[in-house]
């Protein structure tokens, strides 16, 4: 009986191709939107996650909150490492805005005074030259390690190594170039000039550092390290809110909460269009039942039971929504992969989302088809045959 119902449903859909297509369009758009948005959302999530992970493993950032009276100086990095044993190494970050000059070119960027461990803590690697060494700090050498964005702006087509740039009037010899790391949530990690922290004090004319970056001994002690750091900072400055202490895990989980909430929200909005598509199917099926009253009457007169009529119309609405769902899944995943490709994310078509959307569209067809089908099955054959 199911096979016959499938055949009959197929025949009537083929008999009204345009109407079938228009009815499907709602489901096509709904399923396509759900799959595209969820896939894109997940691709965005994994892209952000991998960028955060690239910042360095077990990274903890300690930012003193000046309004609470907490002020840190470069040597406090050593202090912190001594009082918090879970820290394996750390480095101060003294940041400020500078205008860099090379030849006739000027470029405004961030100068970051730091110490040698910062390279490993931040998970950076050198493209050329050398990084900061301890003696650079001791002797306040006027040297710089620059990021790729700075290279592009000041040294297009040139080798920057050995050249001298002027940062707020202070001459700096470029001794190293960082490899590109890409932007993470807005901040471009390549748009930076790194100098010894002692040199940076001159350039930006302050001795207060903006943050200490630290590396926990392992990811398992990272939460403990965060708690310890908060405790010693609060104790030192006699304030319950002396510093923002963020581990990479926390940043990651915050970010992934944001992105997955966003993904769910987008998916939900797209789900509404699927619902609207389902209502479209119900609408058309009700019209179909009314139009085919005579056919239903005839089928009942020659021996179709209620269940057979019910099945026929239910199968028809299910086929409509399933085919619509399949086309929508195809378009949605196609659109998602094109967009992911264009944005340089790894291909983000989400297999489970495709299957879920197909199952859901079938369910939509059944749920929204059941009422019209019940109406059809309940028609009185005498009344139905009299029509038209």
């Amino acid at each position: 009986m199911l096979r016959e119902s499938l055949r009959m449903a197929w025949r009537s859909l083929v008999a009204g191709k345009l109407r079938a297509f228009l009815t499907m369009l709602g489901i096509i758009i709904g399923v396509g939107a759900v799959i595209a948005l969820i896939s894109i959302g997940q691709a965005a999530t994994s892209s952000v996650t991998s960028q955060v992970q690239a910042l360095g493993s077990n990274l903890i950032t300690v930012t003193p909150i000046r309004s609470s009276g907490a002020v840190l100086y470069p040597q406090d990095a050593q202090w912190l490492k001594q009082v918090v044993p879970q820290i394996s190494q750390d480095a101060p970050l003294l940041t400020g805005s500078v205008t860099a000059l090379y030849g006739s070119k000027t470029y405004t960027t961030t100068v970051m005074g730091t110490t040698p461990p910062s390279l490993k803590i931040q998970g950076r690697t050198l493209a050329e030259g050398r990084y900061l060494v301890p003696s650079d700090i001791t002797f306040r050498r006027r040297v710089a390690v620059i990021g790729q964005t700075v290279v592009q702006n000041l040294f297009p087509g040139q080798n920057p190594l050995g050249q001298t740039i002027e940062a707020n009037g202070t001459p700096l010899v470029v001794v190293g170039v960082l490899k590109a790391s890409g932007g993470a949530f807005g901040a471009n990690q390549d748009d930076v000039i790194l100098t010894p922290v002692t040199t940076a004090e001159e350039i930006v004319n302050t001795t207060q550092i903006s943050a200490i970056i630290a590396e926990a001994r392992s990811s398992s002690v990272a939460p403990l390290a965060v708690a310890q750091i908060e405790a010693v900072m609060n104790h030192r400055f006699q304030n319950q809110n002396a510093a923002n202490v963020l581990s990479q895990d926390q940043i990651l989980s915050t970010l992934s909460t944001i992105t997955s909430t966003l993904t769910l929200m987008l998916g939900g909005i797209a789900g509404i269009s699927l619902l609207v598509g389902g209502i479209g199917i119900m609408n058309i099926m009700l019209v179909t039942v009314t139009e085919r009253t005579r056919e239903i009457g005839l089928r009942k007169a020659i021996g179709a039971k209620r269940s057979a009529i019910l099945l026929q119309f239910l199968v028809e609405s299910s086929i409509l929504s399933l085919i619509g769902g399949a086309i929508g899944a195809l378009l949605g995943s196609g659109g998602a992969s094109i967009l992911s490709h264009a944005l340089g994310w790894q291909s983000g078509v989400n297999g489970p989302a495709v299957i879920l959307a197909l199952v859901f569209s079938l369910a939509v067809g059944m749920v929204f088809g059941i009422w019209p089908a019940m109406r059809a099955s309940r028609l009185d054959p005498i009344e139905a045959l009299r029509q038209g």
Binding site: S12, R294, L298, A301, I302, G303, A304, K305
Partner: protein, 259 residues
């Protein structure tokens, strides 16, 4: 002994009824409830139609012949009295049981053919067999035989709109025949046809009748009644006359005599 004999006699009687009368109605009544008013459409009808008979049921509009047709076709249930179809009381069956009875025992022929336009002639004829649950090959074989018997073996892949009215009605007859029903119920089968096509269809009924089919034709057309061997006249919900058409008027017998 006496009890046993009586039981045997009763059984024999039942068998005899079953064998003899395809249709038997006893004090058949149908009352429509329109709001507070009860409108009696059939007010106690008795007749029996034996196996192989060709009967016309006639009457002016409002006489109750459509109501009677619906009851005979198991599309409706009587308000009172009894309807035995092939010996079986169908008055107390559920909707689904009635659907089964219609499928197995009754072949409908409609005034407006009621063919499904998206299906071919063959598929239309197969339709009752689909609901009987026959296999595709079995259905096809029976449907082809039925189409051949109405002379449309060469039109089986045509769709209804590609056929003339007379041909469409012959497809309708083939659909009624395909399930090998106990009785063929025709509702104004020539009502939408010109006289030539109408006569063709009536001759087809006559052939089926000669081959042994039981046929009941509901009509208001005196011409149609001339082909049948018996006419039941209804008026105001009761039978006003029931009897054979005088043989000199009967077309069917004339032709049979001539051939």
């Amino acid at each position: 002994m006496a009890v046993a004999a009586a039981a045997v006699a009763a059984a024999a009687d039942r068998v005899a009824t079953k064998m003899a009368d395809v249709i038997r109605v006893e004090q058949l009544q149908r009352v429509y409830h329109l709001g507070a008013v009860d409108v009696p459409a059939l007010r106690g009808i008795d007749f029996a139609i034996p196996q192989g008979q060709m009967v016309a049921i006639m009457g002016p509009s409002g006489s109750g012949k459509s109501t009677l047709l619906n009851l005979l076709g198991c599309l409706d249930r009587p308000s009172g009295g009894k309807y035995l179809l092939a010996g079986e009381d169908v008055g107390l069956k559920t909707d689904d049981e009635l659907a089964e009875v219609r499928n197995a025992r009754i072949g409908f022929v409609f005034q407006n053919y009621n063919l499904l336009p998206q299906l071919t002639a063959l598929e239309n004829v197969e339709l009752p067999l689909v609901y009987r649950g026959l296999s595709a090959s079995n259905r096809r074989r029976k449907a082809e035989a039925a189409l051949a018997s109405v002379g449309l073996g060469d039109r089986k892949h045509h769709r209804p709109l590609e056929l003339s009215g007379g041909q469409q009605q012959r497809v309708g007859v083939a659909r009624a025949l395909a399930g090998e029903p106990d009785v063929i119920l025709a509702d104004e089968p020539t009502g939408n046809l010109d006289s030539t096509s109408g006569q063709e269809v009536l001759r087809l009924f006559l052939d089926l009748h000669r081959a042994g089919s039981t046929i009941v034709i509901v009509t208001h057309d005196d011409e149609v009644a001339l082909y049948t061997e018996r006419t039941i006249h209804l008026r105001d919900g009761i039978v006003v006359s029931d009897g054979p058409i005088p043989s000199e008027q009967r077309r069917g017998l004339d032709e049979r005599g001539a051939s």
